[in-house]
């Protein structure tokens, strides 16, 4: 018997520190598998964010830097420019990328920096205890929107993938989910294409991954996956928003 599925080499043996059922672990595995498949682990530099995924530096078995909150794209820019042969990726949540780091991500994308961004969108602040994020859905109850998000005073959820795909420096943008095996397979393909865009020097690439936060949504992991499919996917449609012809 041959092992057909196991832990990718680009991950360390450390157990993940995430809550039961959190999709971060699946996203980590997909990124690590892509690093393995391209054989680029030795020249990859990952930038970890502030948020639940801050310990990403302990989980990926490649060079890692931990950036200040929201500043991962700027750190990635510096690494890529000083070491142009390296493969640089950032791994950021929605509180990191879409709130405090919105300026950094927009300008990094607009400059067309050749980096890959893995953006985890779970519509809430996870680590800090379930506050409203820019991506929180209208009507969604969080610690800081106890009566549901009201767009009159709190604005509308930001569609990061669509917004960034209008910028000229961007090569590849797609949105995927991880709530069932078919979505996981599609997510892997999207992450592969994003890294391929970078390897071929096409420009900025981003994969937005819709993810669950069972703990702060107050749901079981299975209910959370269902909630994601029923509420998040209709507002955040899955698919590719921008592809360079050679990568698609």
């Amino acid at each position: 018997m041959k092992k057909v599925f196991g832990r990718p080499k680009s991950l360390t043996k450390d157990p993940f520190t995430y809550c039961p059922g959190c999709h971060h672990g699946i996203a980590h595995r997909l990124v690590a598998e892509v690093l393995d498949e391209f054989g680029i682990r030795e020249k990859t530099i990952g930038i970890s964010p502030v948020g639940c995924a801050v310990f990403t530096y302990a989980f990926f078995d490649c060079d890692m830097i931990c950036a200040a909150h929201g500043r991962a794209p700027s750190v990635a820019t510096g690494m890529k420019r000083s070491k142009p042969d390296s493969i640089v990726f950032t791994y950021q949540g929605d509180g990191d990328l879409a709130a405090i780091g919105m300026g950094e991500i927009v300008h990094t994308a607009n400059r067309g920096e050749s980096i890959t961004v893995i953006f985890i969108n779970n519509a809430i602040y996870g680590m800090t205890g379930g506050q409203m994020a820019p991506t929180t859905l209208v009507g969604q109850v969080t610690q800081t929107s106890p009566y549901g998000r009201d767009p009159k005073t709190m604005g509308y959820p930001i569609k990061v993938a669509e917004m960034l795909s209008t910028l000229k420096g961007v090569a590849y943008i797609s949105r995927v989910a991880l709530s069932k095996p078919a979505y996981v397979l599609k997510a892997k393909k999207a992450i592969r294409k994003a890294f391929q865009s970078q390897i071929e020097g096409k420009g900025f690439s981003l994969v937005e991954i819709l993810s669950t936060c069972p703990t702060n949504w107050g749901l079981s992991p299975i209910e959370a996956s269902k909630w994601l499919e029923e509420n998040m996917i209709p507002y955040y449609p899955l698919g590719e928003f921008k592809t360079p012809e050679e990568v698609s």
């Binding site: 041959k2 057909v4 599925f5 069932k180």
Partner: protein, 67 residues
């Protein structure tokens, strides 16, 4: 012939593998692991096709698949 191996100490008992299994042969164990979670286990191993769907949705990479 296929089989899966669940790392009981890595499993956090999230149960995501249960609806993912097309053969409905994943269940939760009745005894808990060192962390206090009830880990997943497989019943009727002869029915396993090695599709790896359970492993694909496992957030803790606690499942290995052999074929």
């Amino acid at each position: 012939m296929a089989k899966i191996v669940v790392d009981e100490e890595r499993c956090k008992g999230c149960e995501l593998c249960i609806p993912a299994c097309p053969k409905h042969i994943m269940v939760m164990s009745k005894k808990f692991n060192k962390k206090g979670y009830y880990p997943a286990k497989q019943v009727k191993p002869e029915e396993c096709t090695g599709c790896a769907f359970c492993a694909m949705v496992c957030p803790d990479i606690a499942i290995e698949v052999f074929k």
